[in-house]
Amino acid sequence: MTFSEETLMAYADGELDAEMRAAVEGKMAADPDLARRVAQHLLLARKIGAAFDPVLREAVPDRLKDTAAGTPDATVSVTADTGTVIDLSRVRTAKPALPARTWSWPQWSAIAASLVVGVLAGRIVLQDRSPLQLAMEVDGFVAHGALERALSTQLASTQAGDTPIRIGISFLSKSGEYCRTFSLENGFAGLGCKAGPDWHLEVVARSPTGTHSSGAYRMAAGEVPAAVLREVEERIAGSSLDAREEEAARRGAWRK
């Protein structure tokens, strides 16, 4: 079964019914190219939303507030009222005032996560580049939710043995950012670097052992996906932080 670009777009927009969605996801697991196209739709959608969101935080000009409040001297600017009759007959379904779907991060992350699980945990063997990595090259991923919290607060030296997100090593990069490796319960590992307020995910790859072994797992070289290791080697300045340096870096909110 092949999917049209419109179908993939509708999938990315959450517009497919359950059956079609399952069909797309099933195919995605076996077809990295398809997954990459979906990721592209998702990224574009997110980019477009993000480009206009800052308008929401701008101060609303007084003249608009006055118009809404019905201040008498508010003037008609663009067009005089043409008496356009608004046909509401087809906008009748009672709905909450909030948009049904905005590209908020939690939602995006969930989709990205399902994409990762669908694609990476599937049958394909990851060579050097996963669809997720490709997607990252397009736009760069930022850690959110639990991962963001773990990267910001969790210490490798004190984390619980069964924590769902394990922090590996922390280090200062050549460009002066703090970076930390992490591994997830589902077998993925990656590297996040603190740039401004965000943890940018520089690489995410599947760990060769499948899942991170709990307990004494300390990012032993053999268990780190090669793609992550390469990134670490490329970026690291000096050696990794010891427990004391790691704690000090956290106190400083990972700012140099």
């Binding site: 670009e5 477009i48 308008v55 608009l64 067009t79 043409t82 608004i86 509401l88 009672a94 005032a97």
Partner: protein, 171 residues
Amino acid sequence: MSNATESIRRDIAGLLPRLRRFARAITRNAEDADDLVQAAVERALIHTGQWEPGTRLDSWIFRIMKNAWIDELRKRTRHNRLFAAEDEGEHVGVSHAEQQIDAMAVRKAMVQLTDDQRLAVGLVLVEGLTYKEAAEVLDIPVGTLTSRLARGRETLQAILSGGDTRQEART
């Protein structure tokens, strides 16, 4: 002023940030955008009787904005006036430099779309309406909405990935 009108005014005031965002997505510069919001709010307040409580107020006003904007475009074409210059970017308060560059690129790319495509992209990707809701606002079948959205995205994708910057006006 009746309580109902009072309450619609309050609700509209609360929607202003989103109305401005949508206007910014479908017009070409911030000044036109705010003029459009003002005109639409004025229209909405004159016709409050046409809004049915229980339906989406935002959709209703988006529709008024769409109509007002199309009227405005027609008027400008009739008077053979040039569009006001583009001025994407400078009014948008993004702190992160990289984000700002991205955002600017998106807003520039949006200008390359046809008005129909821009409306579809604005309602669905900027305002988060479902295809069905967006189609209702634009008074078109869902299939038409979907194809405008797909073509708009195709153009945006091409421009933003640094590829060709074709300006076909397909609808």
